[in-house]
Subunit: 567 residues, 2 copies
């Protein structure tokens, strides 16, 4: 295997990419390997049409690319596009016991290939995924309900960049272990001399549990962190978002086979709606690592029962994303930026802002003083204007992903009344010209008082946000820090022209354990993070116990075994 | 605080030390800052006498150096030396609620001091501990029962080197996070430019639970890893080994105060025998990190219940340390080396060998072929010779630490009969000239067949080892790997002249997840690991879920909070 480890042809292919990515990760500077523009100038003439054709050929048929997985002989698949159509893709049902055995049999050669070869092969997988970004965009769109361009970007190149980031973080971490050292302890006469060899060994089988809204973006860090550190991976997609991960797994398996490794290193465990595979697999003694994105309930179960069962558990759940508004010298920029953040994918991002803390007395702006209610009104106007044109709005809002979200969006007055708040802006039904069955909704705003804690300290996933009236900015910061510390939060933002307030906001964010965006008025949004530079999640509050992708995310996925002898 | 962070005088004091230690840790090359010889030529004329005097002054009195901790007003302390005398030291009982509050109040300034200052202050603590190594040696000897020189070395400089290793690993990890970056994303026209600041924040309060046998060596990695990453630490010593950690904590508090920080960053929670403080503190919501060394029962409870309660848990328990004997070209060297490993501290090291796998057919040696029983006999002879002289033996064996160990050592025939094995060598009572009450025992050997799995798959802590007769070396390796994978193991050794067997042993060790020592016949022993080079534990088998001190041991003790803004 030593020769394999040093001479694999993919090593040279991806050397420069991995070097550039490593440098970016160390510096946390800007780096993106995969272009976010779906333009044919970037992805090639006809790429869009070929992607769409490939997607359509997949519908209403057996997913043949996974036919070689160990299977029970049955098929599963109950995906319905949030835009309306039933996908009709039938996936082979995994024979779990056989799959576990196959994964374990595949492990030694992958382990012995070494970190460099694994990184190169993983990168090749991502390259091949990138080549099918248009097809993937349709798969993501028709499982998550994201609008098309977002599906392309977040489901394609942005997810691929996060994958490469995880590969790079894993490689960097394994490179820190020298292969060998001659250890020489001074002694009377001759020194004591030993050769010590250090061998990186994986934990064992890894399980990645995908989510409905970001099937690729949230699954890739775990998949590639585990695979790059030598662990075989079973991917358990959300029953309503199988296709993007089925494509991913089939590409990974082909690349692995092509590179001389066992396809069983990556396997897909699809199931119908209502299945219990996630729990069953999580408790399988063979599973050593679990990556999860999804609702807090099952995430908490994994963090407690999964951890108690000795698994390494990495979760990304959800929380109360907060915006503290103190003052601004660019009211229009701020409102436009916030309107976009609320509207993008109808607030169905785990990073979308939910609670906007505004002092009752109001905020100073470049357009004069605004009371809290005036500010809320201006924010409502900005959202209304931004989503006024149905044809353009659907390209931002996408479709609502499930009935929970639809329920909240379609009865905002009822919700507000139950919570003791006032409707500032109701959600509007937007009609989709191409997909008339899609339920598309604009963001709603509900105003509440800070004392009404119950109203805004639970996650309200989807297109409803709260304007929370506080005594003053100091109270805003205090409530922000406390709610995030207790209930979690993936993102936070502050608007202020006062450097002391910004400094206090940074302290509050550090206290709460959440990343802070300050005075965003341009093309960067609080709900977006950039691979290699922004950590996604912090692991420091209840919303997530890990971050994409720091050292802690990868360092424990492998262990080091020493052998030593005198020389 | 920014100024404190860059101008603290201790930064310059320890710059070179930390640089040298960092290089060693990266290379895993030989490095030791703290001399292991207790000689006055190293530690200064009169250091031995001063250490002894200081120790004696501590006995039978209140431990005044911790009088400033928040206390209930009561005192605790029930230490009895394994050598006989009651120590009679009375420690102030910690007021836990007040201590937790004090620790949390101390956190922000320590956090904001930054990684470099924390590393320098932690190093100063270790330097001051080193200056009191002779006093510490007496404290370790009369709590653990280790012989004096071992108490000095393992309890003093070796523990101090492990402390410096943890500080260095923590510093290295925090240094990987840049303080700030200008992120520049290409765009049409002007690039999008942001400043991003990265702030290292600690998890919160850390708990370190010490053990009876290595009160300092096993506690320092956790104490210093947590402290160096910004977490205040409460140290909960074993009720029978309080004094070494009381000295440690009092020195740490003095150095912290001298360096301008709060003494409450390190506090001691001593208790009487039979107390429940470890469990109580482990479940305290304020505690975020737990480091534990000790018995598997409570360790497992922490790994399950502690982990389920959301704590980061680092354990070091115990397991079945194994020796696979295939062949040797230095029988005398091998037997001498093994006799030492069995005898040192009467096998009361978590790294001491327990199971020696020997092919029934026997082993080839430079003194001819030996059957398994002949080999066992030669090993017994070597132990007998090595421990023949009582006066010299006690300086290797030390004293038995508790009644469990004594019970096993004093009825080896009964033990062998219960387990279905044969006594090859009984344990001998050794009389101690200075401490007649000490129970000092030489190692016993019991022979069993490999089929008699129950006999040798439970830990038999103390001076009893098993010669396990197998079909052949292949079976030895198989049984070794399987028992360690199932029951854990801290160390493993192999003796063979056959490179294929050594290669197979390395594979078996990788499979089992345990470090391997090959053909040790000289001054290096399987039960000893060197800081900066050998990982102690692997975290890859049930004996320990972590290793001293890799990246995974430190990387999750802090989190990174980003704040970003346009520039």
């Amino acid at each position: 295997m030593a020769e394999t480890a040093t001479t694999h042809p993919l090593l040279e292919t991806h050397r420069e990419t991995l070097e550039a990515a490593t440098t970016a990760l160390r510096e946390r500077s800007y780096y993106s390997r995969y272009p976010e523009s779906p333009s044919p100038r970037v992805y090639g003439e006809g790429s869009s049409e070929r992607g769409q054709a490939a997607h359509e050929a997949t519908l209403n048929s057996d997913f043949a690319a996974l036919a070689d997985q160990p299977s029970t002989g049955r098929t599963v698949g109950s995906e319905v596009s949030p835009y309306g159509p039933r996908l009709g893709v039938r996936y082979p049902e995994l024979d779990v016991a056989a799959a576990v055995a196959a994964a374990q049999a595949a492990l030694p050669a992958w382990r012995d290939a070494g970190a460099e070869v694994r990184a190169a092969v993983c990168t090749e997988i991502v390259e091949q995924i990138n080549a099918r970004s248009h097809e993937m965009a349709h798969a993501v769109m028709h499982t998550s309900g994201q609008p098309f361009v977002m599906s392309f970007q977040a489901g394609g190149p942005h997810a691929q960049d996060r994958a490469l980031e995880a590969i790079t973080a894993a490689l960097e971490e394994q490179r820190r272990i020298p292969a060998s050292v001659t250890w020489e302890k001074p002694a009377k006469g001759e020194p004591v001399r030993m050769q010590k060899d250090y061998r990186v060994v994986p934990r064992g089988l890894a399980l990645v549990i995908g989510c409905n809204t970001f099937p690729t973006w949230n699954a890739y860090p775990g998949i590639f962190a585990s695979l790059a550190t030598g662990n075989p991976v079973i991917v358990k997609p959300h029953p309503r978002a199988v296709l993007p991960l089925a494509l991913t797994v089939s590409i990974a398996r082909d690349v692995l086979a092509e590179a001389g490794f066992d396809r069983a290193l990556v396997q897909l465990a699809a199931e119908d709606d209502g299945g219990t595979l996630a729990k069953d697999l999580a408790l399988d003694p063979a599973v050593k690592i679990i990556d999860y994105t999804g609702g807090p309930g099952f995430g908490h179960w994994l963090e407690t029962e999964g951890a108690a069962a000795g698994k390494l558990v990495y979760t990304e759940k959800a929380g109360l994303n907060s915006v503290v508004v103190d003052s601004t010298d660019d009211l229009r920029g701020m409102l436009g930026n916030l309107a976009f953040s609320f509207s993008l994918y109808s607030g169905q991002m785990c990073t979308a802002p939910q609670n906007v803390y505004v002092p009752q007395e109001g905020v100073e702006t470049d357009e004069g003083h605004l009371s809290a209610d005036e500010f809320a009104g201006r924010l409502a106007d900005a959202i209304t204007r931004f989503t006024a044109d149905d044809a353009r709005a659907v390209e931002i809002l996408g479709a609502t992903v499930n009935d929970d979200v639809r329920g909240r969006a379609t009865d905002v007055p009822g919700l507000a009344s139950r919570l003791g708040g006032e409707v500032v802006l109701d959600s509007r039904a937007v009609s989709h010209a191409v997909y008339p069955d899609a339920v598309v909704r604009t963001p709603a705003l509900v105003a509440v008082d800070a004392e009404n804690t119950d109203a805004y300290t639970q996650e309200c996933f989807g297109p409803v946000a709260f304007v929370v009236r506080t005594d003053d900015t100091a109270e805003s910061l205090r409530v922000f820090a406390q709610t995030v510390r207790e209930h979690g939060g993936m993102t936070a933002a502050v608007y202020s022209t006062d450097e002391d307030v910004l400094e206090a906001a940074r302290d509050a964010a550090a206290e709460a354990g959440v990343a802070l965006s300050e005075n965003l008025t341009g093309p960067v949004f609080v709900n977006q993070t950039a691979a290699f530079s922004d950590l996604h999640g912090t692991g420091a509050n209840p919303a997530a116990n890990a971050a994409y992708a720091d050292a802690a995310f990868v360092a424990n996925r492998f262990r080091v075994i020493t052998s030593r002898r005198h020389v």
